[in-house]
């Protein structure tokens, strides 16, 4: 229990951000027309590719002799990049089609 209280007081800023971001996320989606559901899902998909930052940090902080960590980190950066680049490009293509149809 003391650990939990310590945790909350040590990470107060992060807890603030989590709570505020939850509300921002809810507000941002608000009333979105159904045609935009799929592009929006795709755009959000690209944004969680931010996980690549963690993968890069793993690589930068890895012990140079730890081959397994470097190999897994390499794959993590590669997959994260696929998520980011593929995600944004496919969203752009969806919206491009959407515009032509109108």
């Amino acid at each position: 229990m003391t650990e939990l209280i310590d945790f909350i007081s040590n990470n107060f800023q992060m807890i603030y951000i989590v709570i505020l971001m939850i509300f921002v996320g809810v507000e941002v989606i608000g009333h979105v027309p159904a045609v935009l559901h799929t592009p929006l899902m795709s755009g959000a998909n690209a944004i969680h590719g931010v996980v690549i930052i963690g993968a890069i940090l793993v690589m930068l902080g890895a012990d140079p002799d730890n081959t397994l960590a470097l190999a897994l980190g390499f794959v993590a950066v590669l997959l994260g990049t696929l998520n980011v680049v593929g995600g944004f490009v496919v969203t752009d293509r969806m919206l491009e089609m959407f515009k032509k149809k109108k």
């Binding site: 590719g49 996980v51 590669l78």
Partner: protein, 278 residues
Amino acid sequence: MEYVLSLEIIYLIASVTYILGLKMLGHPETARRGNLIAATGMTLAILGTIFLYEGEVPGFIYILIAIAIVLGTVLGWLKAKRVQMTKMPELVSLFNGMGGASAALIGLIEFGHYQGNTLSMITILGGIIIGSISFSGSMIAWGKLNGTFKKPLRLPKYNLLNNLIFLGIIAFAGYMVWSQSGSQLFLYILFFGALAYGVLFVLPIGGADMPVVISLLNSFTGLAAALGGFLYGNMVMLTGGILVGSAGTILTFAMCNAMNRSLVNVIFGGFGDTDSGG
């Protein structure tokens, strides 16, 4: 003046672009620009992380990172540019799975580095569980949409079975945290258990419901990214992850509403399609 270029400010700018981007994606006339703005923010955050890193890093690690990013960019770009309009949702699922796998891998690597710190361990194991479920679930969703698994496959009593497996995974992770286990064997049991659950979770769900499932798994991956942000105290991962987790959840409900179904019905459903005789 050097603070102008500090990483924290870049992360703050990136976080704002994600919020703006998502907001603009919700309106037909600004959607495309919104996507571009979020992409710019992401590029800034990635470049900042690499070039403003404080600490001694051997040159070959930078080369490895560069190779991974170039390879991922080329493959992702080509794949996304060449896909047909009708096959876009399955590609979103594929990319979502990649993000989940990335989050799970980060957890696997970091597991040994935070021994003895209960809350870091919860964060890491949480990231592994959620990331793995998102990865294997997205792969099944991708397979269903491209026709590899056409029919919903249902094991007998699959709802009960799936829930038991899920509770088992949580209990096992709880045991690992409680016992402060440093066992690599346990770590991989948990990892493969979560992968198996992701498969069993999506297999019984019909192909027509896949967009909802992908949206749900999308918010899972957001959550996994946010857990990584918590672990490193990295603000841009935290804001981006939580934003997608929360927006993705609302979007999932909106998609269910558009189909006149409840989320529970989609996931634990089955009776939905027996009612209609299909």
